[in-house]
């Protein structure tokens, strides 16, 4: 097991290196130049050249990448060209905010799917099953940016129940309850697609598991209802469940960028988007690295968990 973890962790490194290299390269190719945004009216050939030299943008690509990589390995992601502030601090903060959002999304997904999937499987081909199937199907086809707007119209405008922007209310900084209120709609928006996918896969796996011999045997022994479901069925589908949940990290990231934009959630996706627009190289790099790290580590964790479940299966 330890060997497996080490081996998988080791495989992650070249992938991360590749990602950062590709992003560095793409930034190099990105049209537009941060110096012009910074200098504004004061931009002329001389001032641009001086500022480019100051920011190290005049050096060859390989040198720039080398310097960046060397510092990144020590946890220093450089200084934002636009904000003049250390990137690491901003990226950590924003990644934290995104993780709150995605964590809540994942929680909704896991809990929702763990309830709806088996329920639907047990009631296979009955009304409940059809309702769940239809619902998840529709959810899976919904663009996050549309669902988010519909939720705002419904629960922020028509029924003014929940806030629709930011993480906190600065007039009355209200701690956790305040955060929860702000988190509700964005988390729901972020989770929708994943909830649909995981529920459908869980249902299918459960249908299969319930048809297996040891489950039918248990059923014939008189084991019924939730004991049957969660005692026998769940154990059988757990690896599938963990696997499909692990795969959701990508989807959650994908919808969270739209969610962050719509709900003004100060997360890493929105930071990445605005940094690209501002041509803030070090910030884009930092954000991309953070996203790739979370993504890769999340998948790694899921893999290890599946492996562990595999090993510890009786």
């Amino acid at each position: 097991m330890t060997k497996y973890i080490l081996m998988r962790s080791f495989q992650v490194l070249p992938v991360l290196l590749g990602v950062t290299f590709l992003v560095f390269l793409s930034l190099y190719l990105l049209p537009g130049d941060v110096t012009l945004n910074l200098l504004g009216l004061a931009a002329n050939e001389d001032s641009i050249a001086r500022l480019r030299a100051e920011l190290g943008l005049d050096r060859p690509f390989s040198v720039q990448f080398g310097i960046w990589l060397g510092r990144a390995l020590q946890g220093d992601l450089g200084v934002s060209h636009v904000m003049r502030t250390p990137v690491t601090a901003v990226v950590l903060e924003k990644t934290g905010n995104s993780l709150i959002l995605m964590g809540a999304g994942l929680a909704i997904t896991v809990v929702g799917a763990a309830l709806l999937g088996p329920l639907s499987a047990v009631r296979k081909d009955r009304a409940t099953d059809h309702t769940v199937k239809t619902l998840t199907f529709l959810l899976a086809s919904m663009p996050a940016y549309w669902l988010g707007l519909v939720l705002i119209v419904a629960f922020s405008i028509t029924l003014p129940w929940l806030p629709a922007s930011g993480m906190y209310d600065f007039i009355t900084p209200g701690g956790l309850p305040d955060l929860t209120a702000h988190l509700f709609l964005p988390a729901l928006t972020t989770a929708a697609t994943s909830l649909a996918i995981v529920t459908r896969v869980t249902r299918a796996a459960m249908v299969e598991a319930l048809a297996r011999s040891h489950v039918t045997a248990a059923r014939s022994r008189g084991v019924r209802g939730f004991r049957l479901l969660y005692g026998h069925g769940v154990r059988a589908i757990l690896p599938t469940f963990v696997n499909i949940c692990g795969l959701q990290i990508g989807y959650l990231f994908g919808s969270s960028i739209f969610t962050e934009v719509i709900f003004s959630w100060p997360g890493i996706g929105q930071q990445l988007y605005t940094s690209i627009i501002a041509r803030d190289g070090p910030m884009v790099q930092g954000c991309v690295l953070a996203v790739a790290l979370v993504f890769v580590l999340g998948n790694l964790l899921a893999d290890i968990l599946i492996r562990w479940l595999d090993v510890h299966r009786d």
Binding site: P31, G32, V34, L36, N37, L38, L39, G40, L41, A42, A43, N44, E45, S47, I48, R50, L51, E54, V82, M83, R84, T85, V90, E93, K94, G112, L119, T128, V132, I152, F155, S156, I157, P160, W161, L162, P163, A164, S165, G166, Y168, D169, F170, I171, T172, G174, P177, D178, A181, H182, F184, V261, I262, S264, P266, Q270, Q271, T274, I277, A278
Partner: protein, 527 residues
């Protein structure tokens, strides 16, 4: 399924009820702004958004009186200088500094502090010299020959040439400034880091900045000017790029002031009990024409484009009265602005005739480059579509390419590419220094923003004359000549000037939008 849904609604209701405002001990004003300000360094500030925050914490020798709306540049008033004298030749400015003023860190304000700040910007020998500040302040620095502390509380500036606007330029911010920072605080950190620990003399002190979330300031209760000592405790700026988020946050009470709501929502917000404050911004939208394009070389085509545009319709119907038509290159709120001035106005018939005369009776295809912009305006792409329909009326088929603001400025600095016929962006200040970066031959790409390759030695000459004029009358005379040449040639086509619009809760009072890119937040009140 049913119980789950019940539980969810219950949780939502619970969460919502706990979010209800508790009684706040101190009075806080939260303003939702259109984006993230850049570095909060007075000497390298860029973007109006940055100036909005920085102007609360810093002051110059003089400042502007931002308590009255209007269309003329706000008056210059004493600030860190109590009074000043200008020598008869107009070259020596002697400032009598205000006594008893301290920076937020307790350091005293005096002539040595003024020299320290000027050294940071323009003395390459000084340890605190900051290259970026040097570059950002060319617009006033170029005329300064020397400066010195005459005595502890007297500061003198000697110019190379007369400059009728010099005093105004001392009070300006936005793109660099001479606003004064604490020498002790400046010396304590590397120049690049100073933006994270601002220390000035203004009515607000810096508290904290969390990127993407807030910039928090606290009232400076020891401020020297009782008339501008804030009557509340905290001022929080909250970057909210998305206009609908700002409006919804205002409606739910999460913010007190929302910058730039959409024109479509202002009546609605008013009907909901919110206040709408408007004021003329010192800016003008101008079309740059690519004078290297074959069709654009023909003055008849350029005039036809100007005559095709229904500026009045745009101001009234598209922007719902939140803009005024513009015909001259001199912006409202700047020197030489004339309200009644018109030039090549709306005349589709005439435009068609001119196009036919120029050989484009069968139509003309052009490409317009646009940007949704940075902040302060929400309607820009809709403007493009409006003009596109106007141009179609006279037989010009225009396609629109929208660039993000970063690419857009790069393109402007590198000049318009072949195939691009025109671009539009808003520009303008209380001073006219922006014209140097737009009209002059010295600003041809890549040395400025003369992106349509305009070359006219007469205008170059007039720009220098205007800047070095001894009197305001002389300066305005030169500027009017420039304006009339541009009108006659139709080499640049001004279109409209947007109003600044802000929505506030009913509790907010005395919020004024003077013709400047930043409001005076110190005089705002909250019940």
């Amino acid at each position: 399924m049913k119980p789950i849904f019940k539980a969810l609604t219950l949780a939502a209701a619970l969460a919502a009820s706990t979010a209800l405002p508790a009684l706040a001990q101190d009075k806080t004003i939260v303003m939702g702004i259109e984006g993230e300000p850049l570095a909060l360094d007075p000497h390298t500030q860029a973007l109006w958004l940055t100036a909005r925050v920085v102007s609360n914490m810093y002051e110059g020798l003089v400042m502007q009186d931002l308590t009255k709306p209007g269309t003329k540049a706000p008056d210059v008033v004493p600030a860190l200088a109590e009074s000043w004298t200008i020598s008869d030749d107009g070259l020596t400015y002697t400032f009598k500094l205000r006594g008893g003023v301290t920076f937020h860190d307790g350091e005293p304000w005096n002539a040595a502090a003024a020299v320290f700040n000027f050294d940071r910007i323009m003395n390459r020998e000084a340890p605190q010299f900051y290259e970026k500040a040097f570059q950002q302040n060319t617009w006033w620095r170029q005329d300064v020959a020397s400066y010195r502390a005459v005595d502890d509380m007297t500061f003198e500036i000697v110019l190379n040439t007369t400059n009728a606007e010099f005093l105004l330029r001392m009070g300006q911010g936005g793109i660099g400034s001479t606003w004064m920072a604490s020498p002790k605080a400046l010396a304590a950190v590397p120049n690049d880091d100073f933006a994270t620990t601002p220390v000035g003399t203004g009515p607000f002190k810096f508290v904290e900045r969390v990127f993407g979330e807030k910039i928090e300031l606290a009232a400076n209760k020891d401020y020297w000017n009782p008339a501008r000592t804030p009557q509340y405790d905290r001022l929080i700026y909250r970057p909210m790029v998305d206009v609908s988020s700002r409006e919804q946050a205002l409606e739910t009470g999460a913010i007190d002031i929302a910058a730039t709501p959409t024109p479509d929502n202002t009546d609605y917000l008013e009907s909901q009990g919110f206040k709408i404050v408007t004021g003329q911004l010192p800016t003008v939208y101008v079309i740059w024409l690519n004078l290297r394009e074959e069709a654009m070389k023909d003055a008849r085509v350029r005039k036809a484009i100007s005559m095709a545009l229904d500026r009045e319709g745009l101001a009234e119907d598209l922007r719902l009265g939140q803009a005024i038509p513009a015909y001259g290159i001199l912006n409202v709120g700047g020197p030489g602005y004339d309200e009644g001035y018109t030039c090549n106005g709306y005349d589709p018939e005439g435009a068609r005739a001119l196009l036919a005369e120029a050989g484009y009776a069968d139509g003309l295809e052009i490409k317009m480059i646009w940007t949704p912009g940075g902040a302060g305006d929400v309607n820009m792409v809709a403007d493009a579509e409006w003009f596109q329909r106007n141009l179609a009326e006279v037989g010009i088929t225009a396609s629109i390419e929208v660039m993000d603001i970063g690419s857009f400025f790069t393109m402007m600095n590198q000049g318009m590419q072949p195939g691009s016929s025109l671009l539009e962006i808003s520009w303008g200040e209380n001073t006219f220094n922006w014209l140097d970066a737009v009209l002059a031959t010295s600003a041809l790409p890549p040395n400025g923003y003369n992106s349509g390759y305009y070359e006219n030695p007469v205008v170059d000459d007039l720009l220098v004359k205007a800047r070095t004029s001894a009197t305001k009358e002389e300066m305005v005379g030169n500027l009017h000549e420039i304006r009339d040449i541009i009108c006659e040639e139709a080499t640049f086509i001004p279109t409209h000037s947007p109003l600044g619009v802000v929505a506030t809760s009913a509790a907010i009072g005395n919020f004024v939008l003077a013709p400047q890119h930043w409001p005076d937040m110190a005089i705002v009140t909250k019940d």
